[in-house]
């Protein structure tokens, strides 16, 4: 089938795909560096992504030599020595500078007990509503509800993207010399808070242009919620005691052992109660710091301070894992000219290594990588004499699209998604990784692959969901392929047969290919000579 001619067409210098924090910072940065910028999001810039619904902590370290040196040392260690010192310093500095901008733009940070502004945490809805205004004011054209389906390319590299407007059903095309993929990680529609927009679309689009993935084995990440709900904020559970089905106490509060949730939930139901929130003062503080966490309980008629509630773990894939699109340049470029990646779509190994820890590292990475990629993309695009409209571009998508279907039979989207979830969600497969179990699971996942080469319906929903299904199958296959190749335990990746860290594997694992997946190892750069300076954009006015 010939690909359809798009009904909406725009030409720009930089196209940002994705409207979470990384996409917002990328679009602001690109526009601030003089590029005509379009941001296209699957959902809505302001509500999309894992940050928007709830509160988010930030890696926020004052420019104090000692504090920052300690933060870098902690990170190198916890990241399994796959991160790079200069990148961690740069991340801290960039996030620090940009959070001052957020304050100038009007975000009301609270005061701590010493009367100082506390800037290491933001409420997602307000942060992202503010970022939307900032992006608009910078002159960016925002296309909400415009999921991208495939990139455009020619012999010079990437040249834009095509997609569908989910509200009108019309196809769109944006031509641009630079494209920033800020589409997020991949959590396979697990319904972890705000995670369902992120289905690994950008990773598939990048791979179709030959870009490698890095660190896909670092994807063994779950978060705990009430069993009936979606709000993943583990911090509150620091106040909880835990019980088994019979009501026996299995943990009385305070720091938990590693694997605590997984070990016990793997055995059977686990219940929690916030027994350490035992004074009205403490309860008020907990509620006012993580108010969304309490919304499901209030609505379900459960008082979590005095009543037990069942918990479960929701998979967070590469949203809180660290694997993704391999970056090669200081400004988040990839191996394809004009193609950049930011946020959770990109591999975060340069700053986080093999473990991201909580959301704070990723939240600051979104700020920093967005800002860097925006600068890189603007400079790349503005170096071209002519507009991208003059290029002889062709669509690069190969899987899960109407024009690439190889059989008349429709892709059974729901069945494929369910089959992938059955391999990715169970703790017995993905959390307690062991060679035979992962290998058998990967075989089953490979069998799903031919199915996403089938036909696709004409509605916007059908087109988007078919493409998402293809992206999820390939992300799952990458994750388990990488897990089997890394025969050791490092950071968040574990393998039962190889329970120790293997010094010989202190390298990054790169995957290429979609149908056939190949791999190679890449040394972690160890030259600690110079640190690329942070990007400074002079802005004074509030928005």
């Amino acid at each position: 089938m010939v690909s359809e001619q798009p009904e909406e067409r725009l030409v720009a210098d930089v196209l940002v795909i994705g409207g979470g924090p990384a996409g917002a910072w990328a679009a602001w940065s690109a526009a601030s560096h003089g590029a005509r910028t379009v941001l296209a999001d699957k959902g809505y810039l302001g509500t999309s992504g894992a940050t928007a619904p709830g509160g988010t902590g930030f890696l926020y370290v004052e420019p104090d030599k000692e504090k920052r040196e300690k933060a870098v040392a902690d990170r190198l260690k916890s990241g399994g020595y796959l991160s790079e010192e200069p990148w961690i310093y740069r991340l801290m500095e960039q996030a620090y500078l940009n959070i001052q901008l957020v304050e100038q733009w009007g975000y009301r940070f609270p005061l701590d007990e010493n009367g100082n502004l506390y800037k290491a945490h933001m409420q997602g809805p307000e942060y992202m509503e503010l970022m939307r205004r900032v992006v608009k004011k910078a002159g960016v054209t925002i296309l909400d509800q415009h999921p991208a389906l495939e990139l455009l390319t020619d012999e010079h590299g990437v040249g834009g993207a095509r997609g569908v407007n989910r509200l009108s059903g019309k196809s769109w095309e944006v031509r641009a010399h630079s494209v920033i993929l800020a589409t997020g990680g991949c959590a396979f529609l697990s319904k972890g808070l705000g995670c369902n927009v992120q289905t690994g679309d950008g990773q598939l689009m990048a791979a179709e242009l030959g870009v490698e993935m890095s660190g896909m084995e670092f994807s063994r990440q779950y978060a705990t919620t009430a069993a009936f709900g979606t709000v993943t904020r583990n911090r509150v559970l620091g106040f909880a005691s835990f019980y088994d089905e019979a009501g026996n106490v299995i943990h009385e509060g305070g720091p938990r052992q590693d694997h605590f949730f997984a070990v016990h939930l793997h055995k059977g139901p686990v219940y929690a109660m916030l027994t350490h929130g035992n004074t009205p003062e403490k309860q008020a503080i907990i509620r006012a710091s993580t108010p969304l966490w309490f919304v499901p309980f209030d609505r379900a008629g459960i008082d979590p301070f005095t009543q037990k509630f069942p918990i479960k773990m929701r998979y967070e894939g590469t949203i809180r894992g660290t694997g993704g699109i391999r970056l090669v340049g200081d400004y988040c470029s990839t191996t394809v000219p004009g193609l950049f990646a930011a946020g959770d779509a990109a591999s975060r190994e340069k700053t986080a290594g093999a473990r991201s820890g909580g959301g704070a590292y990723n939240a600051s990475w979104a700020i920093a990588s967005g800002t860097w990629s925006g600068k890189g993309a603007a400079e790349h695009a503005l170096a071209h004499g002519k507009s991208a409209d003059h290029r002889d571009l062709r669509p690069a998508g190969r899987y899960g699209l109407r024009h690439t279907a190889e059989s008349a039979e429709s892709i059974p989207v729901r069945e494929v998604v369910k089959a992938v979830q059955n391999e990715m969600f169970p703790l017995g497969i993905n959390y307690f990784r062991s060679e035979p179990i992962i290998a058998a699971s990967l075989e089953r996942l490979h069998k799903q692959w031919p199915l996403v080469r089938g036909g696709v319906g004409s509605s916007a929903t059908a087109r988007v969901q078919a493409r998402e299904a293809a992206a999820m199958v390939v992300n799952a296959r990458w994750m388990y392929s990488a897990a089997l190749i890394r025969k050791e335990t490092r950071g968040m990746h574990t393998m039962a047969e190889y329970p120790e860290l293997d010094e010989a594997m202190s390298s990054r694992l790169l995957l290429s290919g979609i149908g056939d997946i190949r791999h190679r190892w890449e040394d972690v750069p160890r030259s600690y000579g110079s640190i690329t300076p942070a990007v400074v954009v002079k802005e004074r006015q509030s928005v």
Binding site: Y44, P110, Y118, G229, D258, H259, G491
Partner: protein
């Protein structure tokens, strides 16, 4: 999951159609309809944006439940998340009264985990 678009309260601004990150609503001649409930990710953000408190997201993410609009209104549930966020005229923004600086002091610190050490013992290996 989203369970209610109150046709009594809705003013037809279609903001929920525009802001839903997973495209759950469809625009109609009158109030928007919940067209793809199974795609709702239970993130509650549509409620935050609705200017007339016409939406209700149930806490149950994986099962459909019956809701009683009159009871929800009477209990003050409709619009409660928007009110907590401090969105809407005359309200104090949640950010300004965020208690996170204090929760961090009453919570035990999370230890830094050494590479590949703390994750060694899984049930599979004993």
């Amino acid at each position: 999951m989203i369970e209610l678009v109150s046709t009594d309260r809705c003013i037809g601004c279609n903001l929920c159609v525009k802001v839903c990150p997973t495209n759950v609503f469809d625009k109609t001649e009158a109030a928007p309809v919940i067209a793809r409930q199974e795609d709702c990710q239970t993130c509650f953000i549509c409620e935050a944006y609705c200017p007339v408190d016409a939406l209700y997201v149930s806490p149950y993410s994986d099962e459909q439940v019956e809701v009683d609009e009159a009871a929800l209104a009477e209990q003050g549930v409709l619009g409660s998340w928007r009110a907590t966020l401090g969105w809407g005229p005359g309200r104090t923004k949640l950010a300004a009264i965020d208690q996170t600086p204090f929760i961090n002091r009453i919570l035990p610190a999370r230890p830094v985990r050494a590479a590949g050490v703390s994750d060694v013992r899984s049930p599979a290996t004993g």
